[in-house]
Amino acid sequence: MAVRLRSVSWSAALAVLLFATVTVSAGIGPVSIPPSETLKVLLNALAVPTSISVASTSLVTLGGISIPAPLLGYSSLFHFGVPETHTIIVWNIRMPRIALGALVGFALAAAGAVMQGFFRNPMADPSIIGVSSGAAVGAVAAITLPIPFGLHSAAFLGGLLTAFGVYVIATENGRTPVATLLLAGIAVQTFLGAVISYMLVLSGQSLQEAVFWLMGHLHNASWSEVGFALFFVPIFFVILAWYSRDLNVLLLGEEDAATLGIEVERTKRILLGVSSLITAAAVAVSGVIGFVGLIVPHMMRLLVGPDHRILLPTSAIAGATFLVATDTIARTGAAEIPVGIVTAALGAPFFLFLLRRREVHAL
């Protein structure tokens, strides 16, 4: 009971912090809007579904595949009076980017917490088995080569194929030792780094777009990208949360976990697969944003301890807050910079600080 209570109260507190960050962030930009105004815009947008119908003519496009979607009728809950321009700036211009930032941060931090527990290695992050490199190869290929995939689809598939490839390379006789997985991941990342560099050399005109993507960015975010992330991230997160107790037991070592009744290899496959999916979904829409998945779980582990039932949800929410905050800095500087630069510039020194304080010595 205590665990659930702690988990819920920490998560609730962090969710309040996230909402506050979002409200403030939505007011920051070339046109400054006070938080009370943005709050009203956000509340006006709150709606509850009041009717449902399925029309075969309405299709939702997800990763290049079109599926029929249910149509929901909504009614707004609040009707505050807000100037039309403010609503457009907050809801149509700033909110897609903020929402995408929150989802991506949420996904990366959750995957990072899982990977650090899974590898029992404090340097593990969501890209450790090559998801980000693979996604980058896919994205750069989509930008620089005439391939029949959209950017998001190519990145998503590239990330997944790479993770799967690393898994296959590291697996022998049905067992996947995490040390082998780690080394195979590093080797594959290095190889894909070469592939990316080669494509960049030959890219010509599209070089700048490709480099910008590689640095990790959230600009030009649209509600359709938010929809893409919103479709994948929560499902995968629920699966990861479902396995948080197994992750705790896995922290004791695989052999201990096996004697405690965990089907170790199967659990590893699921955790690896799902955290690769959630990472690939995030990277596909935002490019390679480093350090969120590494630093946020460490910070939260210091605050809430190693129990994944608490660590996983709190890391995810804190990751969302962290990325929204850093992206606000990224877009409000003298010149807009990719958010990946900000997260790394803030994250790395903070990590070193923790390292010197010996807070990060083990899990």
């Binding site: 705790n248 922290l251 052999e255 405690l260 009744g261 301890g305």
Partner: protein, 484 residues
């Protein structure tokens, strides 16, 4: 100690009842094995009793072979363990003890043969099902993070967990009991990284108890523990077997602890079963020699009555050095006898009265001794026998012994020796009860020979017999280490 003894006696009594009732039922009971057992080894009697019931074994390892990499780790090993039995697994490093354990816990799959626990072939069971039958107390676990003790113990409930019950409510009682049984309730809220090695092991034991399994496997439960914690751990395991009815299998390095606490021992060497049975039948000098490749002396412990094994440094029994006669008595020569025989001297001693502590030691070490009746003085015939050995010896060592009328002839015999070394840790006056006669004899011995102290004895002897080669020096170091 008394409590423990009483508990054991009660358990024997309880067992006796069970046997009687079985006999009354006309069940076929093999009483010969019970009768054959010494009454001191109570745990022994108990396991023999339960074996006689003819029930299926809880753990049935049948003809298991397993290859790890290129190496055959286990070859056709079969062993059964009964309910309420503590089976110790002994053998040299790399003999396959831990491999056997990991195979029984289902972590390793045998290449051939099968393992049944509670009648079920664990090869066909899920990891969850196996972990409801077999719990493992690992030697080391990755605990370098701050779960608190209660959380670690709660993880023992993993095999019973329903995925949707996300909280930790229903198994609280089992966890509390496990904490109580291992006496770590006080530590429940402490971080695992803050408890000591001995406590940490009890946390792992509690975790295994929370699994609520009929079988408990402990991997080297006494390794890296101090002697106090070794005994406490094994006492705890013993009571889990006697009172909790658990079946325990555990590799144990310390043969004497294994002999004292285990009902039966399985001796493995090179992945093969070399011996299986009660400690006294497994721990024989020839078994130990073939399994461990070491010289060992097996005797009964004077206090506990358990089988007692004492290993000797390599080559100790092959005498390569000249004969030495030791004159001692009253325990003053015991250590010297051990040092000398371990260093490779062909040792004789005497004369000693029956019942003398030095004589016991000499017998343990297989040393030829001149003996005489308890409390009787050395007569002429005995004196001749002593003299014979003194003359054969290259050196005669006179220990720091009390001299009375009864053993004065020993000193006289020593005067006839070719070389004499007198060990004088105390002044002779303090241990002379024969007045001038003894003092004169002693003085002439000191004049003719070399005076030394027991700690210096081996070095003094080396100088006298001229065994100063490097190999000798090295083995002396080893002996010094043993002796100290």
């Amino acid at each position: 100690m008394i409590d423990d003894l009483r508990a054991r006696l009660e358990s024997i009594a309880g067992n006796g009842d069970r046997l009687e009732s079985l006999v009354g039922d006309g069940a076929a009971v093999d009483t010969s094995s019970v009768a054959g057992d010494s009454l001191e080894s109570d745990g022994q009697l108990m396991s023999e009793g339960s074996r006689a019931t003819g029930t299926d074994p809880v753990v049935d390892v049948a003809d298991v072979s397993i290859t790890l990499g290129e190496v055959a780790a286990l070859e056709n090993v079969s062993v059964e363990a009964e309910s309420g039995e503590f089976l110790g697994i002994i053998g040299p490093n790399g003999a396959g003890k831990t491999t056997l354990l990991r195979t029984i816990s289902g972590v390793l799959k045998p290449d051939s043969g099968f393992i049944r626990v509670d009648g079920q072939d664990i090869g066909g069971l899920s990891s969850r099902a196996v972990s409801r039958l077999v719990a493992v107390v690992p030697q080391e676990t990755n605990l370098a993070f701050d779960f608190d003790v209660r959380e670690i113990v709660s993880m023992g409930r993993t095999p019973y967990r329903k995925r949707l019950s996300w909280g930790d409510r229903p198994d609280e009682a089992v966890v509390d009991r496990a904490l109580a049984e291992t006496r770590i309730e006080d530590l429940a809220d402490r971080a695992i990284s803050e408890v000591s090695g001995g406590e940490r092991q009890r946390v792992l034991l509690a975790r295994a108890l929370a699994q609520d399994t009929p079988v408990l496997l402990l991997d080297e439960p006494t390794a890296s523990l101090d002697i106090n914690h070794q005994v406490r751990t094994l006492e705890m395991v013993r009571s889990l077997v006697d009172e909790g009815g658990k079946t325990v299998m555990a590799p144990i390095h310390d043969l004497n602890l294994a002999a004292h606490y285990c009902d039966r021992l399985l001796l493995l060497a090179d992945g093969r079963r070399t011996a299986l049975g009660p400690p006294e039948s497994v721990l024989t000098e020839s078994n130990l020699e073939s399994a461990f490749g070491t010289e060992a002396i097996v005797t009964n412990h004077p206090v506990t009555g358990s089988v007692y094994v004492m290993a000797l440094p390599a080559g100790a029994i092959e005498t390569t050095k000249p004969p030495v006669h030791v004159i001692g008595g009253g325990g003053t020569a015991a250590r010297l006898l051990y040092l000398l025989s371990a260093a490779g001297y062909e040792v004789t001693t005497g004369a000693l009265n029956e019942g003398d502590a030095d004589l016991e030691t000499a017998r343990l070490l297989g040393i030829d001794a001149v003996t005489l009746e308890p409390y009787s003085p050395i007569d002429d015939a005995t004196y001749e026998r002593v003299l014979e050995r003194v003359r054969e010896a290259a050196v005669t060592v006179v220990a720091d012994v009390e001299i009375g009328e009864g053993n004065l002839p020993n000193l006289r015999a020593a005067c006839e020796a070719e070389e004499v070394v007198v060990v004088a840790d105390r002044p002779f006056d303090e241990r002379n009860y024969t007045g001038v006669r003894g003092a004169d004899l002693y003085e002439s011995l000191v004049e003719a020979g070399t005076e030394t102290q027991s700690a210096e004895l081996l070095r003094t002897l080396d100088v006298i017999v001229g065994a100063g080669d490097s190999e000798g020096a090295r083995s002396d170091d080893a002996v010094e280490e043993y002796g100290s």
